[in-house]
């Protein structure tokens, strides 16, 4: 659960609202982390998530064979660990899918064992 940079001071810019508070996370010797600079509880929650386990939703395209369009937009159905982004993108790049495809169709199940599926963002018919 803890990332590799846990012992270092980390500066996190809050994205919860356009105020954009700068939050500093400072770990002490016993491993407790002190968060400073947030101005609301949602900001603190965001900072904790960003500090311990930053996650992102991946959105990219997948190649399509004999489709109405050459690509289909895809996404992960839940956020995945930020440092796995590149590996997941490489997995997606390996695959070519066949239409017809419907929005929500699972194109890669449980990608790299990360408990997230790659799903289609739209319908796509044959050529």
């Amino acid at each position: 659960m803890f990332n590799s940079s846990q012992s270092a001071v980390k500066v996190i810019r809050c994205i919860v609202c356009p105020s954009g508070c700068t939050i500093t996370a400072t770990p002490d010797q016993s491993g407790n982390v002190n968060f400073e600079g947030y101005t609301c509880n949602r900001g603190l929650e965001y900072a904790k998530q960003e500090y311990y386990e930053p996650k992102r939703i991946i959105t990219t395209t997948m190649r399509v064979e004999n489709g109405f369009l050459p690509l289909i937009p895809v996404r992960t159905d839940t956020p995945i660990l930020k440092d796995k982004l590149k590996d997941v993108l490489k997995e997606i790049a390996k695959i070519k899918v066949q239409p017809p495809i419907k929005m929500g169709d699972i194109l890669i199940e449980n990608v790299l064992g990360l408990d997230a599926n790659i799903i289609a963002s739209r319908n796509l018919n044959k050529i």
Binding site: I15, I57, T59, T61, K82, M103, R122
Partner: protein, 433 residues
Amino acid sequence: MKKYEADVVIIGGGSAGMAAAIEVKKAGLDVLIIERDYELGGILLQCIHVGFGLHEFGEELTGPQYAQKFINQVNELEIPYLLDTMVIEITQDKTVYAVNNKDGLIMVESKAIILAMGCRERTRGAINIPGFRPAGIFTAGQAQRFVNIEGYLPGKTFVILGSGDIGMIMARRLTWEGCEVKAVVEINPYVSGLIRNQVQCLEDFNIPLILGYTVTKIHGKEKIRGVTISKVDTNFDRIVGSDRFIECDALLLSVGLIPENELTLNAGAELSSNNGPVVDNNLESTIEGVFACGNVLQVHDLVDMVTAEAKRAGNLAIEYINERYGKEVKREKQIRCIAGDNVGYIKPDLINLSDISKETMFTFRVKYPDRRIQIQFRDKENNQLIYKKNKVYVIPSEMVEIKLNLEENQIDTGCQHLIIDVVPRPEVLIEEE
């Protein structure tokens, strides 16, 4: 010439057009959508990132997902639409002329028209970068279409001018596709887009953001091989000696959006300072029975806001057909809204005096960021403050929405001009909103 008839013609099959059409169809009226692209969905289809639908659907969708949900509704309701069809003229009597490859010239007679053509990007010409015109210069949205829909990469190493949201989102997208983004260069001393995009699209990938600089020279004659960027002063003039060369094989421009209103203008409607049509509090343009919604009226922050505005426009068009169409209604007195201090534009431009007992939805953008301000609505004729509201901050990238009942706020019925100012908060008022 092929002829159609519809109660309401909707020009544009993007998020605004589809939402308006659905409202009209549900009320039992005949509606026709005319779309110039080969499928419905509009710009959402190329915005494959997430961030859409939190208000409308309560979940974070991608652009194509958001569009698909509306396309599905259009199909379920069997709303007719013409694809690959370009509207070339609309007239004051609500006749629409369009062309396509199958039918040639098309004429559609209607009772009301809803303008939903969206907006387009400002280009190199709009920002006057001098020099040759080599290959490799794109607007951010153009590059987005190449990468996300057509499947082409327009370059390998990029400089992005302008820190608008599309530019920052493209910086991440191109990085994910294996390209190198050398820098995002912004002429203002602040970022134009959302902080969320600055963090997740630039800082996540250590893409340099260079504030207070602009591109002053494009290098290369046949193909771009780099740009010179220079620091600017407060008048945006180049500071001599601050030039830096950055090598790149593509330059993306993310320097703003303009409502697309050639049809509106040719029809004889009045446009306002944001290039959107002048509308009253019923979203009706200066041509009776012609309504506007979505980015053709004003560029919105969120598609959810476009949808909400388009639903309103749909219902107002229905109300027009049921209550006013075909009747002699004399032009009533209107209050004109004026964008004052630090206000770029204000919608609506006009308020019907007979509607002041209803709630008016005001929307505007500030010209520059500011903190601890007060929004003031003033009656110009008697210089009376009608309404004030404190806000902790305002930024140009965030549209301000204010719902206001002018009658309850004691507006004088003799008021002809309403001025909206965003000013420093008077010292005596220290309460937060």
